[in-house]
């Protein structure tokens, strides 16, 4: 993929992450008091709300893509050999896939009752 497309994704995910995290903090810190928000039963009820589960999944993808792409950029500036560039790019994709898959697993388990209060 062209670097300009990757940077477009980087800028897009940055804006999306700010928006999603802001909404999340307002929902779970202002609307619902913080002490209640971090209780296990409340967290489970959040996951079991279909809309919020999708919201959390979106936040997971957006933050991980933005974060790992940022690390990729830093690593590219560290060394400039072709094998390094290739390994960093491949490693970034792998890291995103693995962490998104693991996070999605948690969401799915919570939504479909794999975890109980």
């Amino acid at each position: 993929m062209k670097e300009s497309r990757l940077m477009l994704i980087q800028y897009g995910t940055a804006v999306a992450a700010v928006a999603l995290v802001s909404v999340h903090l307002v929902m779970q810190g202002v609307i619902v008091p913080y002490a209640t928000a971090i209780s296990f039963s409340n967290i489970l009820s959040i996951y079991r709300n279909g809309f919020y589960a999708i919201f959390l999944e979106a936040m997971l993808v957006v933050v991980l893509v933005h974060g790992f792409n940022g690390v990729r950029i830093i690593l590219h500036e560290l060394r400039q050999t072709k094998p390094w560039t290739t390994w960093v790019d491949a490693g970034t994709v792998l890291a995103i896939v693995v962490t998104v898959a693991y996070g999605t697993r948690t969401v799915i388990l919570a939504v479909f009752g794999g975890v109980s209060a």
Binding site: E3, S4, Q80
Partner: protein, 258 residues
């Protein structure tokens, strides 16, 4: 008049293990520049000091160096402007040292050449033997004018934090020139230039520290040019695309006098 303490970083990569600082007492005189002080030290105190200079009027860009920790032109920096009695001259950062204050600009000019800093036309015949005079509107000239003032002194590159870590990054000078020629309405090679810069070590590695614009002795704002260039790299389109030469505002060539 009192003396100015001139401290010069000395280093010969073939003989020295590491750089050393040497101090010279140079008699102050009115209007003295750092280059004047260095030339006095070289002519009367130590013939072995190596430095590069030419025009002495901030036109050639040869005498770029780090003066009291900041990249400057030695010929354009009055000693009086530096305040104290001590002037420290060191070679520019981000360049290999040939000897003392002389740095190797090979890679700097290589990167400059790589961005194709010249006007390109699709019609080669027309480029070589133009049938009309290709002109720019004043508003078109205004967009690129400041970037034409670049004297390729390398000060912007020496101050760039990305160049310090990424050896493949073209640097602010080359990128600003890429913008200058891409924005020129007489140019039709903009898309080639933009494609060249759209890679992992290209224009996107500029993090807008802005130090290049801060140190430029000619008042050029390379950081601005780079940010504007990013917009065109993102779209992949130059303001005048290839094959759109008809958009160029041209006037008949003036008749040559017999």
């Amino acid at each position: 008049m009192s003396d100015v303490k001139l401290v010069v970083q000395r280093f010969d990569p073939f003989r020295d293990a590491k750089p050393r600082m040497m101090e010279y007492a140079v008699p102050k005189r009115e209007g003295m520049t750092v280059l004047d002080a260095l030339l006095y030290a070289r002519d009367y105190l130590d013939h072995s000091i190596a430095l590069r200079f030419s025009c002495r009027q901030a036109s050639c860009g040869s005498c770029g160096m780090k003066i009291n920790g900041r990249p400057r032109l030695a010929c354009y920096t009055p000693v009086a402007e530096l305040g104290g009695e001590r002037v420290v001259a060191q070679p520019m950062d981000n360049f290999a040292i040939i000897k003392d204050l002389v740095t190797d600009l090979e890679s700097f000019f290589g990167k400059h050449r790589k961005v194709m800093p010249y006007l390109m036309r699709v019609d080669f015949e027309e480029m070589e033997k133009p049938t009309a005079e290709y002109m720019m509107k004043p508003e078109e000239l205004e967009k690129v004018l400041q970037f034409t003032y670049c004297i390729k002194c390398g000060l912007c590159t020496s101050s760039c934090p990305t160049v310090a870590t990424d050896s493949k990054f073209p640097g602010p000078q080359a990128l600003a020139q890429a913008y200058r020629y891409t924005m020129d309405p007489r140019d039709e090679g903009g898309e080639k230039r933009l494609a060249l810069l759209d890679e992992a070590h290209g224009v996107w590695r500029c993090h807008f520290a802005g130090s290049c614009s801060y140190v430029c002795p000619k008042g050029v704002d390379p950081a601005l040019g780079i940010q504007l260039l990013k917009r065109h790299v993102m779209s992949g389109k130059a303001p005048r695309g290839e094959g759109e030469g008809a958009k160029v505002w041209s006037a008949p060539a003036p008749q040559q006098k017999q």
